[in-house]
């Protein structure tokens, strides 16, 4: 487990946001606004929360592995 999971998720969401941002330059009707509010924004929010959760549990698991596993230079 590593921090690249949240980086990967962030990158995927940024790509979506970029594409949608470009589309919004020409797509400006109420449907676009509705789609942004009901689809894109909730996705971005869920990604933000998920990334924090991933980073936190990744850090917790790393600490667990350090405390519960054998020493790295196990000379015992």
């Amino acid at each position: 487990m590593n921090h690249s999971a949240s980086a990967r998720l962030k990158s995927a969401s940024l790509e979506l946001a970029d594409t949608f941002g470009r589309a919004r330059e020409t797509w400006r009707d109420s449907k676009a606004e509705e789609f942004e509010n009901q689809s894109i924004i909730p996705i971005m929010r869920s990604v933000e929360v998920a990334c924090l959760a991933i980073d936190e549990i990744t850090a917790i698991v790393s600490q667990m592995q350090r405390e519960c596993g054998p020493p790295r230079d196990d000379t015992a």
Partner: protein, 189 residues
């Protein structure tokens, strides 16, 4: 439909398809991340709940055996040195026993640490799952629904394009396509 209107329709469709493609790609990538995290967490739990207790118990058994051997060696050394002035010769044996004592203490403490971590990890996993629920919901239907909305918009534009929509201000202009036409036709300065 005018020539420029037709190109606008194509552009509108391309725009929506680009969003749909990006949405689909995001869904696949996110699903891979979430699935990967689920697997990592299952592996981490197995490591904590099964592998490490087995490792430390086995390690403790080995240390107990070595400790017993070291104590016997120390005892033999002391017997040999009895009545002589060679008491200092058992220094190495005493040091080994002391070292193994310390290692045993640490190994036994690891089992207690593991027991405490089980509770911590269970709570952390519950919290993680609660916080990722929103993204899972998106992946388990939200994105598909959004994608269907875009597909319907594309189909709608294509349908109007096929029958020929006379003007963007015409009564049959689709909500999905008309603003795109308007924006394309009247770009902001």
């Amino acid at each position: 439909m005018s020539g420029s209107g037709s190109s606008v329709q194509v552009h509108s469709v391309e725009t929506l398809i680009a969003v749909k493609t990006a949405l689909s790609k995001f869904g696949e990538e996110s699903q891979a991340v979430v699935t990967g995290m689920d697997m990592d967490l299952r592996r981490a739990w197995y490591w904590l709940d099964r592998e490490m207790p087995a490792y430390w118990q086995s390690h403790i058994k080995r240390l107990e055996f070595e400790h017993s051997e070291a104590k016997s060696a120390l005892f033999r050394k002391r017997l040999q040195a009895q009545g002589t002035d060679h008491a200092a010769y058992d220094t190495a044996e005493k040091e080994l026993v002391r070292k193994l004592d310390k290692q045993l203490e640490l190994a036994r403490a690891k089992l207690e640490t593991i027991r405490r971590w089980r509770t911590t990890i269970e709570r952390a996993a519950d919290e993680y799952n609660a916080r990722v629920r929103g993204l899972r919901d998106q992946l388990e239907g939200g994105i598909e629904r959004d994608s269907e909305i875009l597909t319907r918009m594309v189909e709608s534009i294509q349908a109007y394009s096929a029958i020929g929509v006379p003007t963007r201000s015409g009564p049959t202009a689709s909500p999905a396509s008309a603003p795109l036409e308007k924006n394309e036709s009247e770009p902001e300065s």
